[in-house]
């Protein structure tokens, strides 16, 4: 083992060089496109008007908090699914039904930073039932249904700082994982000095089970681990399917100026956790029950209001409590970012962000090393495996700053390389680079169609880059983040398309359109509308007063609201418009907006019910109208509410159609 001092020196030297080089490369942009003949490229991405794309691509929104959906290969923008941020366009997070989704132990949180979408899997392949995505800031995981493309559930992770290594699923969606990126004290609300980091701070790895019938998550257990920073995670597959892997950085335990202080060690770790054994240990009663505060929000039934459940306990495994080993640390150079498992489940590829090689561990050698107890010490009772015992290859000359890898199922891996802004293709057989191509500019993650599956589909690769600079027409000092589509069906990677995205995509997933397009719902069936305030026939339209709360049970159809004239509202009332769209035709949406409303409009899909809350502050006549161009008589789709003084005695009346 090297001395601590030489380690620090080397770290500092490398850190300084790294910064200088980064600065140089960042300002000098790659100049030559390697793109196939323009006409060939155009043909490969051309999807005729009215035809459909081959793939759905789901891109995280990063600081937008949402998930955007695109068609590949055309790069057609399909929609934004609002997840962690309020969306005034649809009323998500403003309507009474969706507000409970944002409830957390820190209150109502209308924004987050969404990073890694992951489609549910069966036997290690994407199955298209649900897509999960993590919130990094106020740690949460969301589940989106892929038949309605709507967020149906959000669960908070307690005692976690920055849920970044998330929301990856195991190969039969038994669990979805989360982890601490910024270690913090595990104890809720603990008030301690920051420089007691080494003593008081911890990481937590979270394991949430997924109900195979309805996708509902449940925080089964957490593992309290040393206060490193847990960066990314992945489940194994095939032989390694019982394991999940997390990268760590900041094994230096720095809590200030991490860019220098957390870049000193030559190696950090990949944590390998036998989740199946951990779950059994929990079953067998080896966990501690700890107090924790978190919220679990979801829709019950078909639609209606999301419910918020406050939870106050969690089961926790402390590795040092248990005399059996169920997790290990694999030393890995140097502040690794991605940890990606090849389609066979044998290779564990680290994206050694500051390393000069791409390290590849062998799963079978890891098991041997465990059997032979080839340990190099431990950290809080977690054995550290000997580097040479698990490593099987180091890919030389990968460029500067390798981050994240996906696979084509034909024996090749593709790694995004941030600082030198390129993608390198390398052989899983020889561990040699066989091709490289520029990315514009500064690539973060990349995605291959089904590229994290047991059976990848080697069609397209999408590079998600961090800066656009001159790639598109300039749109001000801040530009949207690019995505670049490559053809990977041949020996060489070829750039096909370059388009701006929404928010800052950190990761993406793609699934063959044929796999899900027939399951996508066209309407909500009125017969199945179980919203407590729905009206299932226009004859039921009415207005009811309950103290200062006024409930308007309203229906919309082309091209009117029922009721559309309402009188007897008073200043000081809280008015709830429960709008049921009684249309049963695909894509015939109605919205409602009322003058002076302090929230947003709400859009209501056919057969759905949504509630807009309105608190009029002044007397007068308030027009409301349909915000969606629904028909030729859409301009006529409107109504009036009369608001009288708080002490007025105007009776509550409503009507439609009698002028």
């Amino acid at each position: 083992m090297k001395t601590e001092k030489s380690r620090i020196l080397r770290g500092m030297f490398f850190g300084a060089g790294f910064v200088a080089l980064a600065a140089f490369l960042f300002t000098g942009c790659p100049s030559q496109d390697r793109m196939m003949d323009t006409r060939d490229a155009a043909q490969k991405v051309y999807v005729a008007p009215g035809d459909h794309d081959e793939y759905y691509a789901f891109l995280s929104g990063g600081y937008s908090g949402q998930l955007s959906v695109w068609g590949l290969p055309s790069g057609r923008f399909l929609k934004v699914v609002p997840v962690f941020s309020q969306d005034p366009e649809t009323g998500y997070g403003y309507s009474e039904e969706t507000k409970p989704l944002f409830q957390t132990s820190y209150g109502f949180i209308p924004w987050d930073d969404s990073h890694h979408p992951h489609i549910s899997q069966t036997d290690g392949d994407s199955d298209g039932r649900w897509i999960f995505i993590n919130a990094n800031n106020t740690p949460r995981i969301a589940r989106i249904d892929l038949d309605t493309f709507e967020t149906k559930e959000i669960i908070e992770l307690p005692n976690t700082g920055g849920n970044h290594a998330s929301s990856f699923v195991t190969s039969n969606t038994e669990y979805v994982i989360g982890a601490t990126r910024f270690s913090i004290p595990y104890e809720t609300d603990l008030d301690v000095a920051i420089d007691t980091y080494a003593d008081n701070f911890d990481g937590a790895l979270s394991f949430l089970s997924v109900d195979p019938d309805n996708g509902r998550m449940d925080l089964k257990f957490q593992i309290v681990v040393p206060p490193y920073h847990y960066d990314l995670g992945r489940a194994g597959k095939g032989p390694s399917a019982d394991w999940v892997f997390f990268t760590t950085y900041n094994t230096e335990l720095a809590h200030t100026m991490l860019e220098v202080n957390a870049s000193r060690n030559d190696k950090d770790y990949i944590a390998a956790v036998n989740w199946r054994r951990a779950a059994e240990l929990v079953e067998e009663g080896h966990g501690r029950t700890m107090s924790a505060e978190y919220y679990h929000n979801y829709y019950e039934g078909n639609q209606g209001y999301a419910v918020s459940n406050r939870k106050d306990e969690v089961t926790v495994l402390y590795p040092e409590d248990i005399d059996e080993n169920f997790m290990y640390f694999l030393p890995t150079p140097k502040s690794p970012h991605g940890v990606d498992i090849d389609p066979t489940g044998e290779y564990i590829v680290g994206g050694g962000k500051l390393a000069t090689v791409i390290p590849v561990h062998s799963f079978s050698r890891m098991l041997e090393a465990i059997d032979n107890e080839a340990f190099d010490g431990d950290s809080r009772g977690i054995p550290i495996l000997d580097y040479d015992a698990t490593i099987i290859g180091e890919v030389e000359d990968p460029g500067l700053g390798p981050l994240h890898t996906e696979f084509d199922g034909r024996g090749y891996a593709y790694t995004s390389v941030y600082i030198s802004s390129e993608i390198v293709k390398w052989s899983l057989d020889t561990f040699e680079v066989v091709d490289r191509i520029d990315a514009y500019y500064s690539i973060g993650h990349l995605m291959i169609t089904a590229g994290d599956n047991v059976n990848p589909e080697p069609r397209y690769m999408l590079g998600l880059t961090k800066t656009a600079k001159d790639r598109y027409l300039p749109t001000g000092p801040k530009q949207n983040h690019p995505a670049q589509l490559y053809d990977i069906s041949g020996d060489r990677m070829e750039l096909l398309l370059d388009f701006p995205t929404i928010g800052e995509p950190h990761y993406a997933q793609a699934i063959a359109a044929d796999q899900i397009k027939d399951q996508v719902k066209q309407i909500y069936e009125l017969e199945e509308n179980d919203h407590p305030n729905a009206i299932l026939g226009v004859a039921d339209n009415r207005v009811e007063r309950d103290g200062n709360n006024v409930h308007v049970y309203m229906a919309s159809v082309r091209s009117h609201f029922r009721p559309d004239n309402i009188e007897g509202i008073r200043v000081g009332d809280t008015v709830y418009f429960h709008l049921t769209n009684v249309e049963q035709e695909w894509d015939v949406v109605h919205g409602i907006a009322i003058k002076g409303a302090e929230n947003a409009e709400i859009l209501v899909a056919p057969g759905q019910t949504k509630t807009l809350k309105w608190e009029p502050q002044r007397t007068g006549i308030y027009p409301f109208y349909c915000t969606a161009f629904c028909s030729a008589l859409h301009q006529e789709m409107q109504g009036y509410v009369r608001v009288s003084a708080a002490d007025a005695d105007v009776p509550l009346t409503w009507r439609t159609g009698t002028n």
Partner: protein
């Protein structure tokens, strides 16, 4: 003249927003009612292609028809008096059961390709939507409308 331009624009919009449930053929000329069979002219275009034996009015089916009508039709149709669509109180006197069923099951086809449907669309300016009802449910609605016509 002005009116004509507005009308053309309106109709264009109608076709724009009425999207395809069922058998759209883009090449079809919506103004062309030639090529319809005698059956189609009398009983409409859609999944109902032969006479349907309705038999006696069945009270249970009338009830079923009434509740579907309440949920899925009443927003646009009164029994007496025009609303979004035409009054339906006496529709069974002027139309055959098959025509009504085809209108319910294939409204976009009817308003595009059938001369009566085209005429109605020009008059009402809102395309009647497919309301996600099955053929059996359409039959129940027909019983409800028959019952109404007889007992009003």
């Amino acid at each position: 003249m002005q009116m004509k331009t507005i009308l053309t624009a309106l109709i264009a919009t109608l076709f724009l927003v009425s999207c395809g449930n069922g058998n759209h053929d883009v090449s079809d000329d919506p103004g062309d009612s030639d090529g319809l069979t005698d059956f189609q002219l009398e009983h409409g275009i859609g999944p109902v292609t032969e006479r349907v034996d309705l038999g006696e009015i069945d009270p249970a089916r009338v009830e079923e028809g009434r509740s579907i009508f309440r949920m899925k039709c009443e927003a646009c149709h009164n029994m007496e008096g025009r609303m979004v669509g035409p009054a339906l109180g006496d529709v069974m006197e002027s139309r055959s059961p098959e025509f009504v069923m085809n209108f319910i099951l294939n409204p976009s086809g009817m308003t595009r390709e059938h001369p009566e449907g085209q005429r109605l669309l020009q008059e009402y300016m809102t395309p009647m939507p497919f309301q996600n009802v099955t053929r059996e449910e359409a039959k129940a609605i027909v019983d409800y409308l028959r019952d109404y016509a007889e007992n009003q």
